[in-house]
């Protein structure tokens, strides 16, 4: 009986667990980055002294101490390098009673140092097993004395990491104590990733900026900030960044590290480095480090979520959402590994995880889709911003200068801080607003959209010049539930994205089929929870069936799911794996001879390191196999008179593969009695389209004008062109060919009659 009950409840619980997982329509199979690799791992420690180095910006001497994990055989190097920097934690414990700790450096008599740098060994082992050399750095001396410093030791942390890079550069070139020549030639100092936890997070940002200021002697390719502080709002552009925010952070409880992502998005117009942010539900501040985790080390560990009353973050509450220590470390292990292996190691197979194309967490992370949410801001070369929602103007005009309109919305406004944008937060709710600005520092500007009817919508127009969106793969935006205006409390939201092309055709997709980002963020801890943490929603454009992606005119958020609610939105963009570089500019000129042969000339200017590939489609199906060409300057003998849509596709390749593409199409019209055309660019017909008259600029006395229809028939002839040529009323609307005969030759131009 008992056995049967056990089976029943076990089965029921299993079904319940399975059924409570979200089921999204974009399941993909991405390799699991958290699994161990094939290298056998070895670990060494090094200790050059407790007072071995004096950073310029710090009043005291500091230790040069740490550990290194590496592939044991060290064959096949040089190996890429990861440097880890722990955060601020108590520094020493009393040997006789480890419960007694002291914040001092060097350790007093009877005390020993707390080895915070050892706390990421689990992650270092994973990375080393994949062929990385992982150095973890001790920073106790800085922790012991940074409280009273105006920079809280951030410059010293940056310098300390740089000092270790210098040291390891020495071990890599000439060797030295304590490693001798063991690591000579084994470290790839041009492929380095840095990770900092807590104050270490801001420390590695300072280090990356310091390294840049020194002329980038070391190749820092990726920076990961783990539950970091961001006291000073430094902006790191040009290097891929991942911020990890634990939702139940009881230490840096305002999750301010998300500013590293927010502040750099539009700071540098040339920045091609992506930014990522991972929100881990149920994770706290300390459990990423085993030395800070109670039960895993002799002294100083604690659960930093001190409150016992919150239903989600307090472990004392039945049914809470907290991750245990094993899960929390597994989560960091998986996402940290994906990030470094992608940007330091060049393994792009993890891109779907970090770029929100695959929202199913890696199995090794031990998370489900309700426990992790990601934001992704592609580099400049991989996105087209529709509406950054970055200024107050963006309530009515978007980033592309298209109209922003809405219907029936209860309210729509922008907040976010800074001198010109009002703050979103007031009074005592600061920690609920991680993206917040201050009176003088801009936060994440965000559009609040509140609706109370299922016909309400919010819409961004895409101007004609940008309507060809065929080079993009997804529509992307960041969003969150606005808990302040959503009732009942705890209600998850949803809405429909509608794309409309210039022909009026539309297609819709429901957000919840692609993302769980519109969940009401949990917790009730006064002045701390719930939060408004933004997460990315990304919907593949291919899912919007039946619209012409080359003529996308409107992006509409149709609030027809729950018929009332309030969300916050920002960063509406088109995102693609490949985007025109801006340097590749596929355009061509064409000229015509009397046998319907047109000579094309491409004017693309390429990057020096690129190789280009051309593909022409002449739109002349009757010409059979010769309808295409791969030459830069081809000619094509058209099958006869008519109107042809000629397209040029230019692809740029580097050693890493395809980096850019661009497309240019043009309709050319060949009339039966072809005219040998000269390039008389000074001749210009206005207005075009025309109604009742045209003016030909640039003509001289004696020049003649001829207007032909597409059958080559002359419908209007003017022997001596005057200022204005009236168009007969009997001419129908449509395309005509204007031929201007001058002493230099004839010019052929297309004229559209539209009245």
């Amino acid at each position: 009986m008992t056995f049967n009950k056990t089976i029943f409840w076990g089965f029921a619980c299993t079904i319940l667990l399975v059924c409570t997982q979200y089921n999204y329509g974009i399941a993909q199979s991405t390799p699991d980055p958290g699994l161990p690799g094939t290298y056998v791992v070895a670990k060494d420690t090094f200790d050059l002294g407790e007072l071995a180095y004096k950073p310029d910006s710090f009043p005291n001497f500091v230790e040069l101490r740490g550990s290194v994990h590496y592939p044991a055989s060290l064959t096949g190097g040089p190996f890429p390098v990861i440097v880890l920097l722990h955060g601020r934690h108590t520094t020493t414990y009393k040997t006789s009673t480890p419960g007694t700790t002291a914040l001092s450096w060097p350790p007093a008599a009877g005390y020993q140092s707390i080895i915070s740098f050892d706390g990421y060994d689990y992650f270092a082992r994973t990375m080393a097993s994949h062929g990385y050399i992982v150095i973890s750095v001790s920073a106790n001396a800085i922790n012991a004395a940074d409280a009273s410093l105006s920079d809280r030791g951030m410059n010293a942390r940056g310098q300390l990491v740089q000092k270790h890079l210098d040291m390891w550069n020495g071990y890599n070139t000439v060797g030295g104590a304590p490693f001798g020549t063991k690591f000579v030639g084994k470290l790839d100092m041009k492929r380095i990733g840095t990770m900092g936890h807590s104050r270490g997070g801001e420390g590695v940002v300072y280090n990356a900026l310091l390294n840049k200021s020194l002329g980038s002697p070391y190749g820092i390719k990726a920076v990961l900030t783990l539950a970091p502080v961001d006291f000073y709002r430094k902006k790191l552009n040009g290097i891929p960044l991942l911020n990890i925010a634990p939702y139940c952070d009881g230490d840096v409880s305002d999750m301010q590290g998300v500013h590293f992502y927010d502040d750099t998005r539009y700071n540098d117009a040339t920045d091609t480095a992506p930014k990522h942010s991972v929100l881990i539900m149920g994770a706290n501040h300390n459990y990423f480090n085993t030395v800070w985790t109670p039960g895993s080390y002799i002294a100083g560990g604690s659960d930093d979520w001190g409150s016992t009353t919150d239903p989600f973050c307090s472990v004392a509450k039945l049914g809470n959402g907290r991750l245990d220590t094993t899960k929390q470390k597994a989560a960091f292990n998986a996402y940290g590994s994906a990030f470094f292996r992608m940007y330091v190691g060049g393994d792009t197979s993890f891109a779907p995880i970090l770029e929100v194309d695959d929202i199913y967490p890696p199995v090794s992370s031990k998370l489900d889709t309700t426990q992790v949410y990601i934001s992704y801001h592609p580099g400049k070369n991989k996105r087209r911003d529709i509406n950054r929602i970055d200024t107050l103007v963006n309530t009515s005009i978007n980033t592309l200068s298209g109209a922003v309109t809405s219907k029936g919305l209860f309210s729509s406004s922008i907040c976010g801080g800074g001198l010109t944008i009002p703050l979103c937060n007031v009074s005592t709710a600061l920690a609920k607003e991680p993206h917040r600005g201050t009176a003088t520092i801009k936060g994440l500007a965000q559009m609040s959209l509140r609706w109370n009817n299922d016909t309400d919508y919010y819409q961004n127009e895409i101007p004609v010049a940008y309507q060809n969106t065929t080079m993009y793969q997804s529509l992307s935006f960041r969003t969150t539930v606005n808990y302040k205006e959503t009732t009942p409390v705890g209600r998850d939201l949803d809405f429909t994205v509608q794309l409309i092309d210039s022909n009026g055709k539309s297609s819709t997709q429901v957000v919840s089929n692609y993302s769980g980002a519109l969940f009401y963020q949990p917790g009730t801890q006064f002045n701390i929870l719930p939060k408004t943490m933004f997460n990315t929603v990304k919907i593949p454009l291919i899912k919007f069936k039946g619209i012409d992606q080359s003529k996308l005119k409107y992006v509409r958020f149709l609030f027809n799911k729950p018929d009332s609610g309030s969300i916050l939105v920002t960063d509406i963009a088109l995102v693609g794996n490949v985007k025109p570089c801006g340097i590749i500019d596929a355009k061509f000129k064409d000229s015509l001879d009397k046998s319907y042969t047109v000579y094309f000339s491409d004017s693309t200017i390429k990057n020096a390191q690129d190789s280009l590939v051309w593909k022409w489609k002449f739109g002349d199906l009757a010409s059979g196999a010769s309808d295409s060409s791969i030459l830069q300057h081809p000619s094509h003998k058209f099958s006869g008179p008519g109107s042809f849509n000629v397209c040029l596709y230019v692809f740029a390749y580097r050693t890493t593969g395809l980096v850019c593409k661009d497309t240019f199409c043009k309709t050319i019209v060949l009339v039966p009695n072809s005219i040998h055309e000269q390039n008389l660019s000074y001749l210009n017909i206005i207005p075009n389209p025309a109604q009742n008259y045209i003016i030909v600029n640039g003509v001289l006395s004696g020049d003649q004008f001829e207007l032909r229809n597409l059958y080559g028939q002359t419908v209007l002839k003017v022997v001596n062109i005057q200022d204005r040529i009236d168009i007969p009323n009997n001419l129908a609307n449509g395309v005509y060919i204007a031929v201007i005969h001058t002493k230099q030759g004839s010019s052929v131009q297309k004229v559209i009659l539209e009245r």
Partner: protein
Amino acid sequence: MVSAFCFKYFSTKCALLIYFKSIFVFFIINSNMLIRLYYFIFLLSFWIADAANVNAQVNSKSTVGNVVRIGQNVEFTINAPEPFYVGGNVFVLHIGQLSTDRYRQTDVDGKGTLTFIIPENQYSHLKEGMSIYLSYGVFWTEEATDDDVLDACKSSPDKAKYLGKLTGQMLHK
């Protein structure tokens, strides 16, 4: 969690915890089913609370200590019978509209001290009777009223504490 820790690293506090837990286990084994159930529930709640090993950042026994003028600054000290939390965030002292996070943090003989350094020209603007708060992190703006802040202190005592009013004695030292 604590017990696992205790087996590895002995201390008096841990020994007491293990002792009491052993007594409960003994009673459970030697009682009837109903009593066992009550004990079990009690023990479960004990273990759940124990498992947290939570740590409040603002010590509930924090008090205002010495206030002394040194050069152009006033050093305003907050004491606690245990060391103050050492973490990523900052302690902030609020007196009226004044907020400062510039301080020295020390722990000597198991007691904690935060010594906030306030420029004399700012301190001299303070008035007797202003409320004094200590918070771990920044939780409220200047717009927050005393009532707002008191609510915050009551609701999240691990993050913020009301330390009383600024007295004439503190002001004129």
